[in-house]
Point group: C2
Chain length 221, copies 2
């Protein structure tokens, strides 16, 4: 019975996600759904991405957290429209939460929407929100065994960003093993190795994103 409940929730979520997708297509908004464990560096990646791309694209951000607004405040400081979703008890953002957030943005003046999900390596991967692509961070201190233990998020993501490479000298993290086991689950996974702290490797991620946005959008206005 519990399984049926979960299924109904997911079906309902997917219906709203399709509505969101139609709206994003109509408005020519490229949407990324960014996921990771707590503390893997999502917000820092969002900040660096904004700084790299804000002169080229009109960016908006949805921040998802159980409670608190500190991530949204970090983004707002960069002059970017941002909505904070406080999920209450929920461990993920769903399509309805995204739907309700959209009224806060001027969608006609948005090219690129970043949705930073709740820090969780499990449930967010189950809930489509109408995104063009899911991207995930795996931070070096978490260990290289995560793909085999949390396969769905690696399966659903288009990109895996291995973050905190500056800590590689101090932890036991086998980069080759992490990449290999992630690609067993998802052979098409694009992988970048970065340090959001030092900036190492981020250019490839920015270029990938810009390429995705360019191939998605048509000239606007």
């Amino acid at each position: 019975m519990k399984i049926n409940v979960v299924k109904n929730v997911l079906d309902a979520n997917n219906r709203i996600a399709r509505d969101n997708r139609e709206l994003f297509d109509a408005k020519k908004i490229y949407v990324i759904n960014l996921m990771s464990s707590p503390g893997a560096g999502k917000t820092t990646l969002v900040e660096k991405t904004i700084l790299a791309l804000k002169d080229t694209y009109r960016i908006a951000v949805i921040e998802g957290d159980i409670q608190d607004t500190c991530d949204a405040e970090r983004v707002a400081k960069l002059g970017i429209p941002v909505v904070q979703i406080n999920t209450g008890g929920a461990c993920h953002i769903d399509s309805t939460m995204v739907r309700e957030s959209l009224a806060s943005f001027n969608l006609d003046e948005t090219d690129f929407l970043i949705i930073e999900n709740v820090g969780n390596l499990v449930c967010p991967a189950e809930f489509n929100v109408g995104e063009n692509a899911k991207a995930m961070l795996l931070s070096v201190p978490e260990g290289a065994d995560k793909p085999s233990k949390y396969p769905l998020i690696f399966h659903e993501s288009s990109v895996m960003i291995i973050n905190k490479t500056d800590l590689l000298p101090y932890v036991d993290f086998d980069v080759a093993r992490a990449k290999k086991s992630a690609r067993v689950i998802n052979p098409d996974l694009t992988i970048y190795e970065v340090s959001c702290k030092t900036g190492d490797g981020l250019t490839s991620w920015f270029e990938w994103l810009a390429g995705q946005i360019e191939s998605f959008r048509q000239p606007k206005k």
Copy 2:
């Protein structure tokens, strides 16, 4: 409507959790429910705890993962009875999963049961499984902002173990801030600072556990 569904699931879970608790009381088994983000060091802590306490107490372990048996294999190598729960899609262990695992143990020859939950800072905190206490790890690379963003797990835990202190020189982690914000949520929280890698600080954790077990158990047989 979705909220009602979650509520029913939690009510049902709590009923089974109480049944588990009655059984553990009857068998004089002290039970700890160990929670954290993915990769915070739960299994390493379990290994070190087994090595420290196995000559004093008869230990058993339940390992929870979405899939995979690598954590259970690590525990089995120490000669400890272990059951691996593979939750499938579920992001937490619930009381029914624990109930079904118990048939695999000789409960009359168990003093101390360690339940290692799925790596997740959100949902496991909502699901009682019949434990005496919840303990959580917060690893240094995750950042000191976690208590304000994931309050429930800090509220529900009796102990917070700040792990990976060996990485403090290499990351921005304010120990005082983490402790202070955790204690705003839970003033009674017992906090230890440890490195499971080097062993630093673990003795206090072992002593706390032994004290809990001693005050709980009556002479057996």
